[in-house]
């Protein structure tokens, strides 16, 4: 049977395609193939297409808001929301510092952890696959973005940069199945790991008997080397105790991921959060 004949038969073709995929998957298991040239090129092309579509969609929604809705009310609202965003971020940082000061400052003499350098970015696309929770933002390596940089909004943590392209970057949301973040219950300083489930989050690896109740606010612990300490992850929704140890601790994210339009990417190197404040801090405004 000729090669052409083989490939005309659906079963043989199916076997060949399946084998090809398995080889492709096998090649990635033992190497860092996911950041390959193919992935980079596909993402770059897709991001550019999505940038154009996002501009069209934003223009349409902007036209609707500005001309068909109340123009002045919208402008005022936007200005106030931007001011509120800045205030919320400052408040979170102050709140974090105050909380830490009350518990550890005298013992450890921790230094101030403010002045994070950030880059403002707009969301241009969601996930192309229903199985993963990611966003695409319109800033990339040319704007100073890199892998594993934390992405935040005034309400709390959004996720981390997983693939920075030249002019765009892919951000893994906290609720993604493979996302995890070092977490801490703000009230009791109990530590654990907040893990995504695809639609919500769980607080895992919490010490048995630890003081955790529904309603507790969970913040980043800063132990993972990615997220700055003290930013809000979410709130404990329910605690199911299982024979003394903790079962499922359900966590509701603080951020409504469906309404995220602009984000701040923390470009401060991780080490500087626990040591000296960054020289020449610059917090770019959301606009």
């Amino acid at each position: 049977m000729s090669l052409l004949g083989v490939f005309r038969r659906p079963r043989y073709l199916f076997a060949a395609i399946a084998a090809g995929h398995i080889i492709l998957i096998s090649a990635q298991i033992n190497s860092n193939f996911s950041g390959s040239f193919f992935g980079t090129v596909t993402f770059g092309a897709f991001a550019e297409a999505q940038r154009g579509i996002s501009a069209v969609v934003d223009s349409a929604t902007g036209w609707w808001r500005n001309y068909l809705a109340l123009q002045t009310a919208f402008d005022d609202n936007m200005r106030l929301r931007q001011e509120l965003s800045r205030t919320k971020i400052a408040l979170q940082q102050e709140h974090s510092i105050a909380q830490q000061s009350r518990t550890f400052a005298e013992l450890l003499g921790l230094r101030a952890q403010l002045h994070l350098a950030t880059v403002a970015a707009s969301v241009i696309a969601g996930s192309a696959s229903a199985d993963f929770r990611i966003l695409t933002v319109d800033k990339g390596t040319t704007d100073g973005l890199g892998s594993d940089m934390a992405v935040i909004v005034p309400d709390g943590v959004v996720g981390r940069v997983i693939m920075p392209g030249i002019r765009a970057a892919r951000v893994q949301l906290l609720v993604d199945r493979s996302a995890a973040v070092g977490a801490m219950v703000e009230r009791t300083r109990v530590q654990g790991i907040a893990e995504g489930t695809g639609s919500n989050m769980l607080l895992s690896y919490v010490t048995a008997g630890a003081d955790v109740v529904a309603g507790d606010v969970v913040v980043t612990s800063g132990n993972d080397g990615i997220y700055p300490k003290g930013f809000v992850i979410g709130q404990i929704e329910s605690v199911e105790r299982d024979a003394g140890s903790f079962g499922d601790i359900a966590l509701r994210p603080a951020v409504d991921f469906s309404s995220v339009e602009a984000v701040l990417v923390v470009t401060t190197p991780f080490r500087s959060w626990d040591s000296e404040p960054v020289a020449g801090p610059e917090m770019q405004a959301l606009e």
Binding site: A18, I29, S34, A128, S129, A130, D131, L135, S178
Partner: protein
Amino acid sequence: MKALWILAALAFALVLQATLARFLGGAAFLDLVLLVVVCSALRNGPVTGMLAGSAGGIIQDSLSMGLIGVGGLTKSVVGYVVGTIGQQFNVTAALSRGVLFFASSLAHVVIFAGFYVLLGLEPFGFSWTGVLSQALGNAVVGVVALYVVEVMPMIVGRRQMSKLTRY
């Protein structure tokens, strides 16, 4: 020409999926790429369904953060099986098509998660509510989309015929 149309449909589905996900917070109410794969499998048979699934899945993989190939292999299997069923059985009624779209969505989730479990990469938990709602959404949108795809050429043909007869 057929291949170009399918590639264009896959590209459109990917862009639309990402645009919708932006406003829905990434919530997976639909898998538009899977819909294109199932539609092309039902209309053109198992080989086209399998190739469309392979291409669409690999591109989707490369735009996501999973292993490149897992989604491609999953959608190839779904495309091949749906195409074979479409050739063996009469699936022209809306109900039977809806059932096929629904079942293919469930099969896609199970196979996809199964591959990850087999590879021992990470625990792949999913909520059945989300899976069932996505399958239901795929079934409704899929039936309507396939109907439109089948009816559109007829409408265009009739208009052309009426124009020709007018002159």
